[in-house]
Symmetry: D2
């Protein structure tokens, strides 16, 4: 059994890791770390786990000591020193925060206002989006688990750019996320009476996931590109829908696009390319590691419209982290992740 | 007092007209028409109205007889004969359906699959979006009340196109509507367990409001244009948010855009251009005839992002219809429409 | 015009007072008080009010100076000194907090953990539930505006007890309230992801509204009684439904009960006794000062089941406060309160 | 592997059975029956299952032929002939409908308006609430799977009555259920704009689950009793909360009650008796077979208040059916049912 520890276990991503790992046949949760709730059982914070996981929260150090793999779900800037410690001691480190996602330090500085604390460590990190970079992940110890929006956007647009089916400039990504994306911390925005029966975009042209999306899409396109990315807060608990617009190159029709996507994801069991005439809905992926993608062509304007949906807490965070763990420990990618989405 | 009759009174737009007109100081609801509920009081269908409006539903003919102005909230194709009758008898007719919205019969045929039944009548109709076409509405008897999505889109983009601030090609309109937009009729899509905790686009590149939006925007741009329009179903009762993308022309910055919008809507009390740094949220316009617009520039991509929000049942249907009534009867535009949006 | 000031204007009850008073034809909002937002416009806190009410928040003292009537929506314990000041200066004071609701200081001490600061002042206060105590309210200057749960419970049970139709012991009040009842202050309980798709009772057998309910019901019954009161948090914004159980006295049937209620509320326009076969639903009273009551008899167990529903922010707070203002200023009770509930 | 067939597979209970059985290590779904969707894959009806279960719906007969155990999730009256056929052919039959729940034909006639079609068959049926009747279930072939409300009510009240801690008369059961309880069929009540931001009781003193609840509680009390049962429709997808009131016998305090419940459910892993000070919330049992029970005493009125919560689709339907299957096939009760509830 893989000994798995979670630091930041009482945040939403951490708590979701607990839930998923409790059902994993090859891993066991050995320790939970929480600064705010040290000394308290996690089930005091999340009564859903009462009698199913009553582990008491400990210090980060205690978690590292007890684990083969450490998952860190922390605000940016806090993972680097932990990663250095883990890697130094031969343990795997999967970072659900932003510290290792951007490969260009200049981008990190610009969007996060920080420098790398351990520049050398970044050489060892790999961006853990398995459907796109599976081979690079194998054998690594330090994983930058992608952001939720970037996962939905990159899975949705990568094949079209990689296969040269769309123009790389002028891409619009209009994303809508459930409220768990904002985390467990209280805010007016997620106060029920303010959030319920409400809807609006936020951080327009200013969200930190923008350079992360661009970084991946540039790998697909093989050249510089910029996207317009607009996140919205959706009054549901879970799920991201990204509706994305790109100009089709001349002569590309919907069948060609669909075929390219199906080929591209042929060996990726978590990605479902929907048949023609169907539209992706976050309902159908909730509580699972699935990503549903539907493809639409507007013949009047020549645009490709890609709708990509994930559960932001699973494929957008904890599930993808476990998928990465599976890969680096040589397990089948779907181990512990074969949940069937509830139909309602 | 203006005698107002409503045909299709038990559909959602009709019921909302009842609510608004009951509070109108210069009009009284004299008759309600409903095919499905003829002979029953409207308060049997909508118990919210019990003891406040217990009018019994009648035939269309009875409603026309008793009214100075007839509001029709019917499926497309049913308004034309009613309009002919009303206009022939010197009564005003405000159509909340689609019969008179498209000025080009070819568009109507293509998107609605029908011919005009009374082509001559269409010459007398005016598209009733007062903030854009106020002068043309005055003195008219036959009003094509705009669709909900077209209202939010046109109010949000018209000034930018009119003032030549953005390119007219490549416009993307990503709209999200509350469920009342789908009407009172039952469907799996709006069945609570299917709709709640769900989200997806629908009728991608195929929604009938597309040509209506284009018709208005072409008037602004002074040339042919096509938009990519994607509606989504939002799990809330009311409200539309349209997030819209257009490429800014060289040298146009956010201040210039904001100034243009403020000038354009200076005499339109229902449109609120939000100050820099604020983002439109459907929460703030619910149950009112307001349209909130926020303006955002993405300097990295050169896009203008306009967020426009209305209550789909008020400014997107019944409220705008009453605003049109006010104009054609020479009343102040805000009469009976000065509701303050609830803060929660 | 009555000059109305609101202290605690940026809490939910205060904000709702703003909304209602803006539409009141005989009153004007002259000043708003807020400790947390002093110096900021109320529309900064509630963007729904932008351009409709941009009054800047002031100190309590400034509000009192500018007002004929002061509404205070404050945590308990803060209203007494303000009331003393207002009454001393001949101004009316309507307290939406709990300071003056309990007529027995012992109860106040036990449930609120405080003593009266100005015991003499309590002699001048009247409990402002107009449907039950209209005559006592007339001519008063100091009004204890009832709590939300007590309003729904007392309106629902008073006639049955007053007319001796039910036993006074063993009454069960199972109430469910929307989240605005918990106020604007942030808490884990009203954090969207925790509150949405959740439901549970809280403060079982321990809620402070219990003695307030009993105080009113004892007046009806003419003897001591105790109720079992269980509040629940409902994942909606507004509305309270109280489902209440009392044992019918021998020989009392549903018709007799219905007749008693209809007679009792004959001159109370805000109370709607629903016809046999209908059930009260909070949907039908939202955004209004209405109270819908449905009456049900279980012949198998001999219980009367009363369902009473109000909008907790209107009839349960701000609307009732304005109703009290109307009464003490000699206006028609419905002035500014004749809103039609939206059907959806 | 147990061959499991589901008749009525495209209703909500049937679809939930599909989800649960797909994750069951000792059973495989061999056939799905649906009258409405015969010939179509279940994933056409529930796109959540696309590529995970694309079985094509068949006739009932085909399902019976292919199965060792048949689950039937049908409107009442349709299960009896199917059960007769299955039992005759030596197959197990688990009925999620009401046909075999009431042991007294007179009750069935009174509440369901029907006679038994196969009276002899009823002798072989057992009421499948394992925590109460585990021993009787073992070795049976014909299981009456309990209703959702009765499961929550019976689990919550049985120990108190069995141990003689409360009076058996005057019990009040105030239950609130999520909308999946109303099924997949469309209705105005569950139309999103009508159901969202709404709340009310329904079928007061007239719900068919009443005699089923009484039947079980009478077994606990050892004498006749009647309960007042009031169901409410809650605007959430899943979950039932029953708040129940019973008069404590003299000298019984909360500790004594808690001890009795903990002892009673000591060997029932799906029932969690919450510690003192905690309150059951449907949030914590969603998507699982758990039942959370919290116990509260109101010392002022001498009432015991029991809050019992389940997921109506799992412990209230499909999960309990699988639990019954496990028992009759000699498997561990938790096989395939050890889901961890999501914390959000």
């Amino acid at each position: 059994m893989i000994k798995a520890g979670i630091i930041g276990a009482t945040g939403y991503a951490g708590a979701e890791l607990v839930r998923i790992l409790l059902g994993h046949p090859e891993a066991e949760v050995t320790a939970l770390g929480s600064q705010s709730f040290e000394g308290q059982p996690v089930s005091e914070v999340y009564p859903a786990y009462y009698k199913l996981c009553d582990l008491v929260c400990e210090s980060s150090q205690a978690v590292v000591d007890k684990s083969d793999v450490v998952f860190a779900a922390l605000p940016h800037g806090l993972s680097e020193p932990l990663a250095a410690d883990c890697i130094g001691r031969g343990k795997a480190f999967i970072d659900l925060g932003a510290d290792f996602r951007l490969e260009n330090e200049e981008d990190y500085r610009r969007w996060y206002g920080k420098e790398y604390a351990h520049p050398a460590l970044h050489e060892q990190a790999v961006y853990g989006l398995p459907e796109l970079f599976r081979e690079q992940i194998k054998g690594k110890k330090l994983i930058a688990n992608p952001g939720c929006y970037p996962t939905s956007a990159a899975l949705g647009l990568y094949p079209a750019l990689k296969r040269g089916l769309v123009e790389s400039d002028g891409i619009i990504i209009d994303s809508k996320s459930g409220t768990t994306g904002a985390g467990r911390g209280l805010s007016q925005t997620t106060h029920f009476p303010d959030c319920n029966e409400a809807f609006s975009p936020y951080k327009i042209a200013a969200h930190r996931h923008t350079p992360e999306i661009e970084q991946t899409l540039m790998k697909a396109a093989g050249k510089r590109l910029r996207v317009t990315f607009t996140p919205h807060l959706l009054p549901v608990n879970r799920g991201i829908v990204s509706t994305m617009y790109a100009r089709l190159k001349l002569g590309v029709n919907e069948e060609k696009v669909r075929e390219a996507y199906e080929t591209f994801y042929y060996e990726s069991p978590f990605v479902r390319i929907l048949p023609a005439g169907k539209t992706a809905n976050l309902k159908n992926v909730r509580y699972t590691n699935l990503c549903d993608i539907s493809l639409h062509v507007d013949p009047r304007t020549g645009n490709l419209i890609v709708v990509s949906t994930i559960d932001n807490m699973v494929k957008g965070a904890a599930g993808q982290a476990v998928q990465n763990m599976n890969i680096i420990f040589g397990l089948d990618e779907q181990t512990g992740l074969a949940m069937v989405p509830p139909a309602f």
